[in-house]
């Protein structure tokens, strides 16, 4: 997979969650090129062409970012802040993934410009359903702002 073809960027430290998310998308025929990065730091390197992604063409950016909040090192909120602060990435839709809708971070994410959030339920079926709906919505229906 070419890095510049990435349409969905999944930022998730939990490999199980990542696998299940990817599986849900694939199962629901969302086959757009997806890139999974393991934590916030890597996500930032990818988006801004720094670190191990220094050779990446940052003028081409993903169409959707799925962002887990609870991550080691650089957490989701920090990644969101950086994204929204840069002209390069400001317009990319961001869907926040969270374990609980009781999380006070959700409010902050909205305030920072997140477009939506998904609670990762314990029940895999509902999780899968949410992911697929979300994928459809953002990738298929939502035109990338030019």
């Amino acid at each position: 997979m070419q890095m510049n073809e990435v349409e969905i960027l999944l930022i998730e430290d939990n490999m199980n969650d990542a696998e299940m998310t990817i599986r849900s998308l694939t199962k629901n025929n969302i086959l757009n090129p997806l890139m999974h990065v393991k934590d916030g730091e890597e996500a930032i390197d990818f988006l801004f062409g720094t670190g191990s992604y220094s050779d990446r063409d940052t003028s081409v950016q993903p169409h959707l970012i799925l962002l887990d909040l609870k991550m080691p090192k650089v957490n989701g909120i920090d990644v969101l802040k950086k994204l929204k602060a840069s002209e390069l990435t400001r317009k990319i839709p961001v869907v926040v993934l969270t374990s609980s809708n009781e999380n006070p971070d959700i409010k902050e994410c909205y305030a920072l410009g997140a477009n939506s959030y998904i609670v990762k339920p314990v029940d895999f079926d509902s999780f899968s359903r949410s992911i697929s709906q979300l994928g459809f919505y953002w990738i298929l229906l939502n035109q990338k702002p030019v």
């Binding site: 599986r23 609870k70 374990s99 609980s100 009781e102 339920p121 314990v122 029940d123 999780f127």
Partner: protein, 810 residues
């Protein structure tokens, strides 16, 4: 001068008289001259007649004797005509009677003769001779008579001339005398005038020097106000030299505000009035204002026209200032005497009133004019023989200060007198102490009680003051602490015995208490805490006659109080510390809760998700038992997820602050039931009574109702006629809500476990649930200040109650 004039007039009259006499004399003389002339002419005509008579006679005789010739006839005729003419003349000019008589006789004789002569010789010689003799005699008579007349005239003229001569002489004498007198008078006047001018000049010089030496400003001005003379005094007073000011307008001396007044005065002067000692202000050369007394007189010319004004002004600035000073001093003095709150009078040594101030007038209810000049003992005879009477008399006689306290029955007046002798006057201060005396009387009655009270409270002070802030009574051992003895204070005014700064401190309190206010406060002096209590004392008519001030040493109480305060403060600090700790713990707990919910859920998701994946991907090779086992794994994972969610909510609700509002519980219940039925309608009959509207947090109350109603539905679902009833009632100061069902109920011995977290009285398989719902209910109701309880009987249903107390107004 007048005398002279009379003399002149007399002289002129005399002259005129003389001239009149002369004129008359002249007339008389010319009359006499005329008469004389006539008489003389008569005499001459008579003589002429006699001459021609003789000639005629001669011719006549000759005729007779010789005949006549022509020439002779002619002559004769001539004579005859002359005689006739003379007779005619005489006829016209003779005036004298005697002469006329003579003439008439003569005329007839002559005419007779002439007629005879003409006829010639008709007459005898004898007759002719006789006739002629008669004519001659008549002629003679006429001649002598006329001569006598002439002679008489001459004598009369002489006589008149003599008169005239004397008159002229007199005239000359009088005229000469007049001229001499006039001359003497004129020369006398001239020398006198010469003498006057000299004197005048001297006088003027004297006057000028007087004017110049005068301390007063003397100057004059013309009608248009131009200054024309200016003396040294004026230079001194106004500062202008004569050279500077002469020719200038008087207005430079007048202050701007007095110009109009000056104009008015000048108008009066122009009408001839004099203004004397008029006091006004003037401006000097250097601009100072001075007070002057001005006298202004009009100046007139010889014809009496007013041509200017002379001004004499005297600098009275010092006098005016002095007067003003004296006036102010007098006023001040009177003011002081009037302001004295005591009565004040001045008597002379005969005890007559010289001065009385308002206060004393008020006290004795008289007007000053009723008293001044009167003798005290006549006005107030009842005072004779009183202590005051002797004090005043003694003070006058010994010239020593004296004082007395006295009761004057006619006025019901208690008075305190202080008499200060001063030579011929006595100054007396009189204070009305009736109030004080009355208060003292009242106090005296209760003095023992106060003393007892004061002595029974150690470290206290009771003090009673009258309306003049005079100590009437003071008791208690605290007095020593203040450094005073009883005797130093009682009977004296507070302002007089305690330091002024201390008095000013308590003055506001005294004013308050005498305004009728009772109050108390704490104060601290010399490390002692004192409770100050001020109470007004009122008589039967509610009039405040005194104030009671009670001071109690409350140091020990205060110290205890301070200790309590200290403890409270430290307690508060401790509470704050604990609260902060608790808050920190709470926060930690919160973080922990989230982390737990997040971290616990991830593996659950994995368990659930991967079980699902296995199910999906390997369903062909897993038998039914395997599938069942996978489902158990999945269900448990899901259940644990639900437990974690409930736990999270429970902890969250516990932290949430209440947001109260008046909530219509009927509406809220209906809303809850609608939500509950959403997607899964219940068959249970739910009866809702009329519910109270209560002040609660709507969101939280929603949780409460949701939990209770869903529980009721859940546990009654299996009954024959499942029924839920919701009601409310107001009891005491609380609203009590109940949710009743006819379901399975529970055994009351487990009632204490009902509201514990994760506590369940039924198996999961019988009635699914997490065991958190009622714990949440209890937590919310407790937060509202209410209680939750339940009644139940196994298989007979359960009743859950919660109370919401009325809000305490803070």
């Amino acid at each position: 001068m007048r005398k002279n004039r009379i003399v002149y007039i007399i002289a002129i009259v005399v002259m005129l008289g003389i001239l009149l006499i002369f004129n008359k004399e002249y007339q008389v003389l010319s009359l006499y001259a005329d008469i004389s002339d006539e008489n003389y002419r008569v005499h001459n005509v008579f003589l002429d007649l006699a001459k021609y008579e003789n000639k005629e006679r001669f011719f006549r005789r000759s005729f007779i004797r010789e005949g006549s010739s022509d020439e002779m006839n002619q002559l004769f005729e001539e004579y005859k005509n002359t005689i006739i003419a003379d007779l005619d003349t005489l006829h016209s000019i003779v005036k004298d009677e005697q002469l006329q008589h003579t003439f008439n006789q003569l005329k007839s004789r002559i005419q007779t003769q002439l007629n005879e002569s003409s006829e010639r010789n008709s007459l005898t010689n004898a007759e002719v001779s006789q006739n002629d003799a008669l004519i001659d005699s008549l002629l003679h008579q006429g001649i002598s008579r006329s001569l006598l007349l002439v002679h008489n005239n001459k004598q009369q003229i002489h006589k008149e001339i003599l008169w005239l001569r004397w008159g002229i002489l007199f005239f000359i004498v009088v005229t000469s005398a007049s001229i001499i007198v006039l001359f003497i008078g004129l020369s006398k006047q001239k020398s006198k005038r010469r003498l006057n001018l000299k004197e005048l000049k001297q006088q003027q010089e004297i006057l000028a020097s007087i004017v110049n030496l005068s301390e007063d400003a003397i100057f004059s001005k013309t009608t248009d106000g131009t200054i024309i003379t200016w003396n040294k005094g004026a230079e001194k007073i106004y500062g202008y030299t004569a050279n500077e000011i002469i020719g200038k307008k008087n207005a430079v001396l007048i202050p701007g505000d007095l110009r109009y007044e000056d104009e008015q005065i000048f108008k009066r002067i122009m009408l001839g009035e004099q203004v004397q000692n008029y006091e006004t202000r003037r401006v000097t050369r250097n601009g100072n204002s001075i007070s002057v007394s001005v006298t202004i007189s009009p100046v007139k010319d010889s014809k009496g026209n007013i041509v200017g004004a002379a001004k004499i002004s005297r600098d009275i600035t010092e006098r005016v200032q002095l007067q003003e000073k004296i006036r102010l001093q007098n006023e001040e003095l009177t003011g002081i005497l009037e302001r004295i709150t005591d009565g004040f009078i001045i008597l002379d040594n005969d005890f007559r009133y010289v001065f009385v101030n308002k206060e004393i007038c008020k006290m004795v209810n008289r007007r000053p004019e009723d008293l001044i000049g009167k003798i005290v003992w006549e006005e107030f005879p009842e005072a004779i023989g009183s202590p005051t009477y002797y004090t005043i008399i003694n003070a006058r006689d010994t010239q020593q200060f004296g004082s007395s306290v006295d009761y004057y029955p006619p006025l019901g007046l208690w008075q305190e007198n202080r008499v200060y002798p001063g030579g011929d006057k006595l100054s007396i201060f009189i204070r009305d102490i009736s109030e004080q005396k009355r208060a003292e009387e009242k106090i005296a009655k209760s003095e023992k009680i106060y003393k007892t009270i004061a002595s029974s409270i150690p470290g206290s002070l009771i003090c009673i003051m009258d309306t003049d802030y005079r100590y009437l009574l003071i008791e208690g051992d605290m007095l020593e602490g203040f450094g005073y003895t009883r005797d130093e204070l009682v009977g004296n005014k507070a302002s007089a015995v305690i330091p002024s700064e201390r008095f000013n401190e308590v003055l506001p309190n005294l004013r308050r208490v005498f305004n009728g206010e009772s109050f108390s406060f704490d104060s601290k002096r010399n490390n002692r805490y004192v409770l100050n209590r001020y109470v007004p004392l009122k008589d039967e008519s509610e009039q405040i006659y005194a104030a009671m001030i009670v001071l109690i040493d409350v140091t020990h109480l205060k110290l205890a109080e301070e200790k309590i305060m200290e403890l409270n403060t430290s307690l508060e600090t401790k509470v704050a510390e604990r609260t902060a700790q608790l808050e920190a713990v709470n926060k930690e707990l919160e973080a922990f809760t989230y982390s737990v919910s997040h971290d616990l859920r991830a593996p659950l998701r994995a368990i659930n998700g991967y079980a699902k994946i296995v199910e999906e991907d390997y369903h062909t090779i897993i038998n039914d038992e395997g599938k069942r086992l996978l489902k158990v794994i999945k269900d448990n994972a899901t259940k644990m997820g639900a437990l974690i969610d409930e736990l999270l909510r429970f902890s969250k609700l516990g932290r949430k602050a209440l947001n109260r509002s008046w909530v219509n519980m009927n509406e809220l219940v209906t809303e809850v039931i609608r939500e509950m039925n959403y997607g899964n309608p219940t068959t249970v009959q739910i009866n809702i009574g009329k519910l109270h509207t209560v002040p609660v947090d709507k969101t939280l109350m929603h949780h409460v109702l949701f939990n209770l109603i869903s529980n009721a539905v859940k546990y009654s679902d299996k009954a024959n006629h499942p029924m839920v009833e919701i009601n409310s009632e107001k009891k005491d100061s609380s609203w009590i809500f109940s949710v009743k069902d006819n379901g399975v109920g529970f055994d009351m011995k487990y009632a204490d476990k009902l509201f514990g977290v994760f506590q369940r009285l039924h198996s999961e398989s019988e009635f699914p649930g997490t065991g958190v719902g009622l714990a949440i209910v209890q937590r919310i109701i407790t937060k509202h200040g209410g209680n939750v309880w339940a009644n139940a009987e196994l298989n007979k249903g359960a009743q859950f109650y919660f109370s919401i107390p009325e809000q305490q107004e803070n």
